[in-house]
């Protein structure tokens, strides 16, 4: 079986993480921003699994389970917040939500 060196996994997850970060910083749609955040979290999962496999240590894979649980909880709360916002003001664009400023 062909095994890839760990650098490949790490580079891939770093690239996904950066794509997610850029998405969060440039996009204006709250749902897309949230999807980019999920992308970041999943790239971390990839890193954790890669390290875990490389070192033969289970802790990383346990951590992935925790991260997935947390991401699911965050998704539930995040979408509820977007929904509450949409009920009051029919928009999901973060630059149109600006009642708070100094």
């Amino acid at each position: 079986m062909l095994t890839l060196p760990i650098e490949y996994y790490l580079t891939l997850s770093a690239v996904i993480f950066i794509i997610g970060t850029i998405g969060v910083l440039t996009r204006r749609n709250a749902i897309i921003i949230f999807m980019c955040i999920e992308l970041m979290l999943n790239s971390v999962n990839l890193t954790l699994v890669a390290f875990s496999q490389y070192m033969g240590d289970m802790a990383g894979q346990i951590m992935v389970l925790l991260v997935m649980t947390v991401a699911a909880a965050e998704a539930a709360v995040g979408l509820a917040i977007v929904l509450a916002l949409f009920r009051n003001k029919q928009t999901v664009y973060v630059d149109e939500v600006n009642v708070l400023k100094w």
Binding site: F17, A30, M40, V44, G60, W102
Partner: protein
């Protein structure tokens, strides 16, 4: 999992179980607000008692395979979280009913977030730290948006959620990289293996990412932009709770992972200290200078909380034992004065954001002499005027910086404290020496709100008078 583990984690378990009981009570009992309130206070007192018990019987022990540590500083953190929770519960019903955000879920969320904070304060490993942080943060996102019919509250929740989740991504990536470079998530193992790691770059990138992630959570410059908006838009009792207990929890996580790293003597520590010092300087100056320009009291306190994060970062940058105890002491002091100040703001606030501007506070001393006096006391303490708690907090932190050969940092701290005199004491001057504009309504406080205020006053004075007692617990 043994009996000892269960006993060591008893404080967290009690608070979590009460959170679940309150959730069921809310679902099954009609008009359950008062019952939920009572249950919350009972649960938090139980948590306090269990934590004190753990401190006395097993200080410094670890449990759950080295995941959590009990006693010493973690007991003080528990006291901060439970104390903040009790005061918030006492203040909440009156305020939330007035502004139209009285949902009984508030008590469940509050207890859950406290359980998460306690897990953070006890953590001896990045895994429970991350889980605790997320439990706390997810509850905070909901609590910030509690007034679900108000656009400002929705906006606060949305901003907090997006930036908070973004920061969690950074923290998590940092944890993953550190895990990869040293082969463990336990803080003790991180410190022990940091010297022999094959990937020092990965290690420092990881630590840097963790600093960014936690920097967001404590609202330190340059990651503080969310704080003013969120603190402004959230219900005032929630703001008071988030800006004290939430900040304390994030700092407890910060100290937990950075203290062993600082003690390990890894090459590159000096640079990390300089970066932390720069974050501290930025937070202090930006927080205090921007607070000068605010006309809304809630927003002013929000910016000043960025500055207080800066003072606390001094302790991190110092990186010595005096720094850690200084941070803990300051967090206790900050808890009382900041929750007290927000309690006064909440008592005066009317629905739809009335009575929140500095102009509304003109001549308060004549109309509500009691509240004005109490507010002045908190302002003096926040400025750092002896003999109040805030003075000793700053004294210990600046002292830690001097011990770590960072005298310049202590000087910047003193200078920014002087800047903060302008707006803190400016508010006192406005309350005492300016003519009121028009009539002011409101300002009546219920007995439970008065109790919470009394607790903060006693705390602010008492901790200023006996600072050594707190330091002794923290150093154990």
């Amino acid at each position: 999992m043994t009996q000892t583990d269960l006993l060591a984690g008893l404080a967290i378990e009690i608070v979590s179980i009460f959170a679940l009981i309150i959730m069921l009570t809310d679902a099954l009992v009609e008009r359950s607000t008062r019952l939920c309130e009572t249950l919350s206070i009972v649960g938090l007192l139980g948590g306090l008692a269990a934590s004190a018990y753990a401190h006395l019987t097993m200080p410094g022990q670890t449990a759950f395979n080295g995941m959590i540590v009990v006693g010493g500083m973690s007991t003080l953190y528990d006291a901060i979280f439970c104390g903040a929770g009790i005061m918030t519960v006492l203040l909440a019903r009156e305020y939330l009913t007035r502004v139209g955000g009285m949902f009984d879920e508030f008590y469940t969320l509050l207890m859950m977030s406290i359980a998460g904070m306690m897990l953070m304060g006890h953590s001896a490993d990045s895994m429970p730290m991350f889980v605790g942080l997320e439990v706390m943060s997810i509850c905070f996102y909901v609590m910030a948006g509690l007034m679900r019919n108000k656009l400002s509250s929705n906006e606060a929740a949305l901003k907090y959620f997006l930036l908070g989740a973004f920061a969690s991504g950074f923290l998590l990536y940092g944890i993953a990289l550190v895990y990869g470079s040293v082969g463990s998530t336990a803080y003790s193992a991180i410190a022990a293996k940091a010297l022999s790691t094959q990937f020092p770059t990965l290690f420092w990138v990881g630590i840097g990412m963790m600093i960014i992630g936690l920097g967001f959570k404590v609202a330190a410059f340059p990651f503080h932009q969310w704080a003013p908006d969120v603190y402004h838009g959230a219900p005032t009792v929630v703001t008071g709770f988030m800006s004290t207990a939430g900040k304390a929890a994030a700092f407890s996580g910060f100290v937990g992972f950075i203290a062993p790293t600082m003690a390990s003597g890894v090459p590159g520590l000096e640079k990390a200290k300089v970066i932390l010092a720069l974050l501290a300087v930025g937070s202090m100056l930006v927080g205090n200078i921007t607070a000068l320009a605010q006309t809304n009291v809630k927003r002013m306190l929000a910016y000043s909380s960025v500055a207080h994060a800066g003072y606390l970062m001094i302790g991190l940058a110092a990186g010595n034992a005096a720094g850690w105890t200084g941070i803990t002491y300051y967090l206790v002091a900050y808890l009382f004065m900041q929750i007290g100040a927000f309690a006064v703001v909440g008592i005066l606030e009317r629905e739809n954001g009335g009575n929140l501007t500095v102009d509304d506070y003109r001549g308060l001393a004549r109309r509500r002499p009691g509240l004005a006096l109490v507010m002045s006391l908190f302002m003096f303490s926040l400025t750092g005027i002896p003999p109040f708690a805030g003075f000793f907090g700053k004294y210990y932190l600046f002292n830690a910086a001097i011990q770590a050969d960072l005298t310049w940092l202590a000087i910047v701290g003193v200078v920014s404290s002087v800047i903060s005199v302008w707006f803190y004491l400016g508010l006192v001057v406005i309350m005492y020496f300016r003519e009121p504009l028009g009539e002011m309504e409101g300002g009546e406080a219920s007995i439970s709100s008065r109790t919470a205020l009394a607790l903060s006053i006693i705390g602010t004075l008492l901790i200023g008078l006996i600072p050594q007692a707190i330091i002794n617990i923290a150093a154990r």
